[in-house]
């Protein structure tokens, strides 16, 4: 079932991705990530001495601060912070720098709400209860690019993708805000990045399953069948491989390649 998307994409096509690192002078690591019109800026400070209150001194602690584009900080922002904190805690190696705190600050630069005022008003009437959750996948991608830039020890990277389920039952990858509002259900999935390994695929196993088939986080909204969810997972996983490649390539272009070798 071929669905016509507003911006002309195929159901499996992602929005154009850009990633620039080291954009902030004072932050220890920073990244600006954009997917289509959704732009997020992530800054990492740390590791700094001292753990947070009631933190485990044998592990590093991660602190996330979410800054919305407009408005005050409320429960929504706290929820994003909590989801991000748990996701990033699972990718960071917490035992390498015990008793330290790493702070990650996310600033929403643009929210993919590029509609005219009138449309905005009409939308507002219908959707005042809808959360701005479509920022979450971009936020996770921005945060993991910033952690990479800061040199925080990581087990692997986190790659996030959003999948939406339409009324007709077809799955769309990376929906824009408009598309998302018309959907029956959607899921935000975070996968580990695809690793380059010298081992043959079969031996990279964790408890009998390939490491790449793991999943870090899944946030779902709406009602969907189990089969549709598994379908989303499949599509999401293949798209995450493309995003991992993108991250790897953007990293390669940054590393200068003719510095003298220091012994």
């Amino acid at each position: 079932m071929e669905v016509d998307r507003v911006d002309g994409r195929t159901p499996n096509q992602l929005r154009p991705l850009t990633c620039s690192c080291n954009v902030l002078n004072r932050a220890h690591g920073s990244a600006r990530w954009s997917q289509g019109d959704t732009i997020l800026l992530a800054a990492v400070y740390g590791p700094k001495a001292g753990t947070r209150k009631n933190g485990n001194p044998e592990k590093a602690s991660i602190e996330v601060i979410w800054k919305p584009k407009t408005g005050q900080i409320g429960k929504e922002e706290k929820e994003y912070e909590m989801i991000l904190e748990r996701t990033l805690q699972s990718i960071c190696l917490l035992t390498v720098n015990p008793n330290t705190t790493t702070s990650i600050i996310l600033q929403v630069v643009n929210d993919d709400g590029a509609v005219s005022f009138l449309e905005n008003y009409v939308m507002f009437k219908m959707t005042y209860l809808t959360k701005k959750v479509q920022l979450l996948p971009s936020a996770i991608n921005a945060a993991s690019a910033a952690l990479l830039d800061a040199g925080i020890p990581l087990k692997h990277l986190a790659v996030a993708i959003s999948c939406g389920l339409e009324e007709s039952g077809s799955v769309l990858l990376d929906p824009t805000k408009l598309e998302e509002q018309k959907m029956k259900a959607f899921a935000y999935l975070v996968f580990p990045n695809s690793v380059a390994s010298i081992l043959p695929e079969a031996s990279l196993q964790v408890e009998g399953e390939l490491l790449e088939h793991g999943m870090i986080t899944s946030v779902t909204h709406g009602v969907m069948l189990v089969d549709s969810y598994l379908h989303c997972l499949e599509r999401g996983r293949s798209a995450s491989a493309k995003m991992s490649d993108f991250l790897r390539r953007s990293l390669q272009s940054r590393v200068p390649n003719d510095l003298p070798k220091t012994g």
Binding site: K48, A49, T100, L154, K155, V195, A196, L199, L247, D258
Partner: protein
């Protein structure tokens, strides 16, 4: 045998999670892992993004340039004294934790001649403006009660002084407490050597070399310090001499101390020389050797 077991990713960019070595096929070898690699069961995987490097016979590490520093033994770094305890100075070296510098770790150090690195903490100017009210128009009615406090680490804290003043102003109606806060430079800049660096403890430093001599370590007077990345420091310290330093050294005379933690200190007779050298070094980070020489030549032409 050794050639077969080298990683296929040497000199390539690696990303966290990449598996670079499989230990199950090398049972009799010893491998030394440097920065950025960890052992995960039977494989060696990458923790940080960067280029994988190999040095004979068996050292692997990931080379990356960051703004923060990971303390390693026998590194020479530039630290700033933050505080003084009974036995140690607390020194900031841009790492995850503060480092300890024992008070005796100086040449000829003993309990009697302890070095003094004064730590000037923040200055607080606070004053009570009394008798300020919109209904008062007389010009003589304003009294200024001004308190100047330079806080020493052993003295009363600035918060207590402020509390005192605040409690005072409650007794005077129509008074304002104005607080002006001047953060000032903290502590001395030291050129030190890292003696101990374990993950779980604060690193330990020393101002002497291995034999106990001072050998250029210690406080750095005058000059100018700037911070950049660890990659720039490594490039400046590489041998043969880094092109930018060579080119600058041919025309100018200056003194320089490079810390592997990303801090660089420059001193020269004229401030203009210091500015020139610092700017040239900061710009040279992203340039190749040839570009660095051209940049320095152009700078010299403009100055002379």
């Amino acid at each position: 045998m050794v050639a077969d077991s080298k990683s296929a990713f040497i000199d390539q960019t690696v990303v966290p999670g990449d598996v670079v070595l499989d230990l199950s096929s090398m049972s009799n070898h010893t491998i030394k892992l440097g920065q950025g690699l960890r052992q995960d069961g039977d494989v060696i995987s990458v923790m940080k993004a960067g280029k994988l490097r190999f040095s004979k016979p068996n050292k692997y590490w990931v080379e990356s340039s960051n703004k923060r520093y990971v303390p390693c033994v026998e590194d020479t770094v530039l630290g700033i004294v933050v505080d003084q305890k009974a036995d140690n100075f607390l020194v900031d070296i841009k790492g995850p934790t503060l480092a300890f510098l024992p008070v005796l770790a100086f040449e000829g150090g003993s309990r009697r001649n302890k070095p003094k690195f004064e730590v000037k903490l923040n200055r607080v100017f606070a004053f009570l403006k009394m008798g300020v009210s919109s209904s008062f128009t007389n010009k003589q009615g304003l009294e200024c009660h001004r308190t100047e406090n330079m806080v020493k680490s052993a003295g009363i804290s600035s918060e207590k002084v402020l509390l005192l003043l605040f409690s005072e102003c409650r007794f005077f109606p129509f008074s304002e407490l104005n607080i002006i806060y001047f953060p000032s430079q903290v502590g001395k800049l030291l050129y030190v050597r890292v003696v101990k660096a374990n993950a779980d403890m604060n690193p330990e430093l020393s101002c002497t070399d291995v034999n106990g001599k001072a050998a250029e370590f210690g406080p750095l007077k005058d000059g100018y310090m700037f911070e950049s990345s660890t990659g720039l420091s490594r490039m400046l310290l590489s041998s043969p001499t880094c092109p930018v330093l060579e080119a600058l050294g041919k025309k100018l005379s200056f003194e320089i101390a490079i810390g592997l933690n990303g801090r660089v200190w420059v001193n020269a007779e004229a401030p203009s020389t210091v500015i020139l050298v610092s700017n040239a070094i900061m710009t040279s980070e992203s340039l190749t050797g040839v570009q660095q020489r051209i940049m320095v030549e152009k700078l010299m032409q403009r100055v002379q």
